[in-house]
């Protein structure tokens, strides 16, 4: 049957194949997703840098009159401005989670199905433990990446809520005052500030791992992961794109292919 045909096409022989695997270009990341990503990069870098400066101001000026400078005030202003942009960027992404294509959909980010759990285990085996070479080849992100981004969204939410709660004292605007109710949960503003500060380091950790894994994926999988952030196109093996399983939740990710020269058996696919 059709699936059998797929299987035989897909399970590559141990001997070096004569013909290279055919890839097609697929448009995965729509413009709003890419805009979100790079605006997010700009916001996070700005917020991280200014936030760190606010936490530990260097001695740029060591003497002078207060009337002669305002650099620290400017740093804080930039931080607050970037925070508003950050909220806007997050709102855009949240909207696109409902309006975008299926790779951008909200469902991907939530652990909803048993298949996602199985895929997560497989991702860990292939990419982290490297005990298997049966790579999932999702069109979008792999499940672990989606879940990590969901966690990062929560971190962003915490940073926004805590940051604006701290900012409310110096603002007449209604928006920051939406969040001041969380201060008593933390006991005092000082404690909340410490948590807000800790979030910076979690973001830094995320960025480090995220950038590494992008390079890793681009290098090891060779499907244009990095360039897809700019143009939106990824490269997908023709057989994966054509497989019926590619119509799944996060697209494509149901099919495994053995990329090792030793070959591998076809694991069960999702019903």
């Amino acid at each position: 049957m059709k699936s059998d045909a797929m299987k035989s096409e897909c399970a590559r022989p141990a001997a070096p194949a004569a013909a290279p695997r055919a890839f097609i270009r697929v448009y995965v990341w729509e413009a709003p997703v890419r805009l979100f990503h790079w605006a997010n990069v700009a916001c996070l870098l700005t917020l991280g840098a200014t936030g760190y400066l606010i936490g530990s101001p260097p001695a740029f000026l060591t003497s002078g009159d207060a009337s002669s400078g305002y650099w620290f005030g400017t740093v804080r202003f930039v931080h607050f401005l970037a925070a508003y942009l950050f909220v806007a960027v997050m709102m855009l992404r949240l909207y696109w989670a409902f309006a975008g294509n299926k790779y951008a959909r909200w469902r991907n980010f939530l652990p909803l199905t048993r298949q996602q759990a199985r895929d997560a285990v497989q991702v860990a085996k292939v990419e982290l433990l490297q005990v298997s070479n049966e790579s999932l080849e999702p069109m979008g992100h792999n499940v672990v990446a989606y879940f990590t981004y969901a966690g990062t969204f929560l971190l962003a939410l915490f940073s926004i809520v805590s940051g604006f709660a701290l900012y409310a004292a110096t603002s007449q605007s209604w928006f920051p005052h939406l969040f001041i109710r969380i201060i008593p949960w933390f006991g005092s503003e000082y404690t909340l500030r410490a948590w807000h500060h800790a979030a910076l380091w979690l973001f830094a950790l995320f960025v480090l791992i995220h950038v590494y894994l992008c390079i890793y994926e681009d290098y090891v999988d060779g499907r244009g992961a990095i360039s897809s952030m700019i143009g939106g196109w990824k490269f997908v093996p023709r057989d994966v794109a054509a497989s019926p399983q590619a119509q799944g939740l996060s697209g494509g990710g149901r099919r495994r292919r053995s990329r090792a020269a030793t070959g591998g058996q076809q694991p069960p696919t999702a019903p």
């Binding site: 530990s56 207060a66 201060i183 503003e189 950790l205 590494y212």
Partner: protein, 387 residues
């Protein structure tokens, strides 16, 4: 309360003040001071004057539990001398361990008498935290544990004023590991309005102002999310600090003995908690408006915020993170975590190079030159006209 206030037998507060030799001029000066502290408009002076002229004494029970009495001490040092006079002598404290002449049996009788006679009318002032560990054995007054006393007295109180950080948030007694399980009043009493007059101690004028507000308007002052009177606690010390321009200009004291400290730069980097502390120190100041910690060159400790003892060390911006040893700030942990992660990623990259060598680089059939060579020659021209 009205029945008590309008009772002809008890003289008004003003009458009592007159009998003590306070003249009209001093009385009005006091009213003007108080309306200024409360942030009232000019007509507020008349309102306060009228209230003090017409109202009878407000029955007050001042309970002391786990505390150092610094709230009482602060109160006694209120800047206008007659504040303490009227509030202590005339407003009438029916019961307060520190100042009452009565002792022992007599004192307990007064307390019982007051809470029975003025049930639902008296105001309960609490100074100190309430330990609930060991069935309250850590704080027993007159044979009764603090937790029993506070429940008994609060039951008939019209309102509660929690004086100072102990009664508001547990202060040093509740600092980690809190051996006596010291609790603030709000943890014990849930069904009464509580005014939290924060600080360690609160500013004397703030204490007096809250009492005068109760007396004048016969209702609670406007409170913030943490139950503190907004009039005194809506601004951060940072916002009213006279050193604030140095903060915005990025001029900081780097060490306590540097030239910047002499110049009076911002104490932010010395751990000043002003940016997260809500209090009136910057505007009212202390000791007859003489000074406040930052003016004396010392960073704010944040004594009007919950848990400030556990947010140490006081002279650094970032608190230690519990469970990670001494000197473990979020920054230090963050840098360590980043470094460890970088090492782990480098190891992962190295393992990847070995384990995934079959998929990295040129794969069978992917040779670029071979692909070029095998390109079919177009019928009309050379294979690669552009080269």
């Amino acid at each position: 309360m009205p029945a008590l206030l309008e009772s002809p037998v008890v003289p008004t507060i003003y009458e009592q003040m007159q009998s003590r030799g306070v003249n009209r001029r001093d009385f009005l000066k006091f009213c003007a001071w108080m309306s200024a502290y409360l942030g009232l408009q000019e007509s507020g002076i008349a309102q306060i004057a009228r209230a003090i002229e017409t109202r009878r004494r407000l029955p007050v029970v001042w309970m002391h539990f786990q505390e150092c009495t610094c709230c009482s001490e602060s109160f006694l040092r209120s800047s206008h001398p007659i504040v303490a006079d009227i509030l202590l002598d005339k407003l009438s404290l029916d019961y307060t361990e520190t100042l009452q002449a009565a002792a022992g049996q007599q004192a307990e009788e007064v307390l019982q008498d007051t809470i029975k006679r003025y049930r639902g009318e008296y105001v309960m002032l609490v100074e100190g935290s309430i330990p609930i560990g060991a069935d309250g054995a850590y704080c027993v007054v007159g044979g009764k544990s603090a937790i029993d006393s506070v429940r008994e007295v609060a039951a008939g109180a019209k309102a509660i004023i929690a004086w100072g950080n102990c009664a508001c948030a547990g202060c040093v007694q509740s600092a980690n590991p809190n051996p006596t399980q010291a609790m603030p009043v709000k943890a014990i009493i849930k069904d009464k309005p509580i005014i939290h007059v924060q600080g360690c101690p609160p500013i004397a004028e703030v204490m007096a102002g809250v009492l005068v507000h109760l007396l004048t308007f016969d209702r609670l002052p406007q409170l913030d999310a943490l139950g503190r009177p907004k009039v005194f606690y809506s601004a951060r010390v940072h916002d009213t600090c006279y050193r604030r321009p140095n903060f915005d200009a990025g001029l900081f004291v780097e060490t306590f003995d540097d030239a910047n400290a002499k110049k009076g730069y911002c104490l932010y980097k010395m751990g000043c908690r002003g940016p997260t502390t809500y209090n009136a120190c910057g505007s009212l100041k202390w000791n007859n408006g003489t000074s406040f910690p930052i003016q004396s060159g010392h960073p704010c400790l944040g004594c009007s915020e919950a848990g400030f003892w556990d947010n140490g060390p006081f002279y650094r911006r970032l608190t230690n993170v519990p469970g990670f040893g001494i000197e473990s700030t979020a920054d230090r942990l963050g840098v360590t975590a980043l470094g460890a992660t970088a090492v782990a990623l480098a190891a992962h990259a190295a393992v990847t190079r070995v384990r995934k060598r079959d998929t990295i680089g040129e794969q069978p059939g992917e040779n670029a030159e071979a692909a070029e060579a095998s390109r079919p020659t177009p019928p009309d021209g050379p294979a690669n006209p552009e080269i």
